[in-house]
Symmetry: C2
Subunit: 321 residues, 2 copies
């Protein structure tokens, strides 16, 4: 089994080609523009790793990995429209560059293309893979909707938050690994364990991402630190702070969220620090990380085959950026 870096290079070689026809450039140029913005390609490489955990890498894994990456980019195009985000990876978002209507359609056609890709797998694999993929795709939409719902609510429970991030970001990592496992010929039980590994890892990753949005090093993080605080995003940090803070700090926090003063980020961070949100976040992240590793451990293949996945988990979770 090869490392993430090795499989990333295998994937990039395969992915770096024409995904859309030459005609109708007013629709397909925006789609191509999105793809060339790049990305970490964690999900498609997870498909390849899921395959290699159980057998030799199949060309079908590359096809499925392509579908997963197209799907992920579809969600990014539409999320950016919903978030009215001007930039992604330091470049204009699709809707900023081409207008909202075209971005909407370019996202739609990218979703169609991801199904079209999966449909070229061996005929006997098409139904199980599309069933898992469609369930996951619907969950990702549900997660995005819940995230938007939560922004309008004053309070969200920790349980609701965990459910939302599981749907919005974690299930796709689980499904990517499982699709690879299906192609690798894994048993249903091993497939489920690998899915669980990916899903728990995805939640741990998102908890950390929320943490870094508030406490990350601005030089390494790549996004505006405090961005979530500015838009009153209901992250684990806010939810915990509202639960842990004493009455006066709680009142101050709610007031800051309502009035949006200039020094909002600074003041909210101080409340977070006073409530020990650091430690709480580490605990939650560790809980999910341990659950992920336990499921990886339980998969019935030789431990050394699992090493690249364990390394990937460490890398995703201990990144400072």
């Amino acid at each position: 089994m090869r490392s993430f870096a090795e499989l990333l290079s295998v994937f990039e070689k395969h992915f770096n080609r024409r995904h859309f026809p030459e005609h109708t450039p007013t629709l397909y140029d925006p789609a191509r523009y999105m793809l060339q913005l790049g990305g970490k390609r964690v999900r498609p490489v997870a498909v390849l790793m899921g395959n290699e955990l159980f057998g030799a890498l199949s060309d079908e894994a590359l096809v499925a990995a392509t579908a997963v990456e197209l799907f992920h980019n579809f969600t990014l195009i539409h999320d950016d429209i919903m978030d009215k985000a001007p930039l992604r990876r330091g470049m204009e978002t699709v809707h900023t560059r081409y207008g909202e209507s075209t971005a909407l359609l370019a996202g739609d056609v990218m979703l169609v293309q991801s199904y079209n890709c999966l449909n070229t797998l061996s005929p006997e694999r098409v139904p199980p893979v599309i069933a898992l993929f469609s369930r996951t795709a619907a969950e990702v939409c549900e997660g995005q909707q819940l995230d938007m719902d939560f922004e309008k609510r004053e309070s969200v429970t920790l349980e609701e938050y965990e459910h939302m991030i599981a749907l919005k970001t974690a299930v796709l990592l689980g499904a990517s690994l499982q699709i690879g496992a299906i192609i690798g010929g894994a048993s249903e039980h091993n497939q489920q364990l690998l899915y669980g590994f990916g899903k728990n890892l995805g939640i741990a990753f998102q908890v950390q991402d929320d943490y870094l949005d508030a406490f990350g090093d601005p030089e390494n993080f790549g996004k505006q630190v405090g961005g979530d605080i500015l838009v009153n995003k209901k992250t684990f940090l806010t939810i915990q702070a509202l639960e842990q803070a004493g009455p006066s700090a709680r009142k101050e926090l709610l007031q800051l969220m309502k009035t949006n003063p200039e020094d909002k980020v600074e003041k909210v961070l101080q409340i977070y620090r006073d409530c020990g949100i650091d430690a709480h976040t580490r605990l939650l992240k560790d809980k999910y990380f341990r659950q992920a590793l336990a499921q990886l451990d339980a998969i019935a293949v030789l431990s050394k085959r699992k090493a690249p996945l364990a390394e990937l988990a460490e890398f995703l979770i201990n990144r400072g950026h």
Copy 2:
């Protein structure tokens, strides 16, 4: 083979059920709202008719018909966002009622659900049906993009217009019939003929729809007469008028499109009448209608089996509303 009306009632009975889970109502209520707005259900019934042309109605045709109707509703939700349409069938559009972001997501999840539906067909039918469906879905997106592109252009050729309406509205009728034919066990050749019948009929229907938008009886048409003229939509009528009109009428038409005076609709209609656009439109519609019927004729099944499809064609094309 049963008539459109009989199969419509079969379809409505099947379709009138829960398509989305009870949970996450903020996402799925908007999707359900869209479906209960109703519609003519021409495309799903076409799936059933395509099946019955070649064999006894299969439950699989009802599943595929459901997928086609979900897909059509997905396109309507997203088109209404792009067109900023406040109303559909006299009711608020999804984005007017629930906001653009939620409408965008509700459309996405409806597209996912349409694939999920097709994926429950017999395993051997899933790949060919999803291949045809995905090709068609991409074409519908291309057609919508071209339609938007044309609104910004001063001139569009008749050929470009015909290509655009073929993609935007006609291919889905062709594909619906062909999916039914696949389920009915038709030969590849018969499938293609039926697809051609649907596609040509769809173009004839759209030409007529453009005509009725300008010249229809306001009481019967159900939409605002002259709506296309108001927004400078490049329909067959505008394109022909710009080609046929003498220099001064042409100049007046372009001026009207630029300045949007209060009596624009009235004056544009007069130019259309002066150029004999009526007759031209009838000619174009008849051309496609005849092509449709020729393909229906060539299908190798007993003529009496084709009667309901011929009746549907007459009904769609000779409607005055």
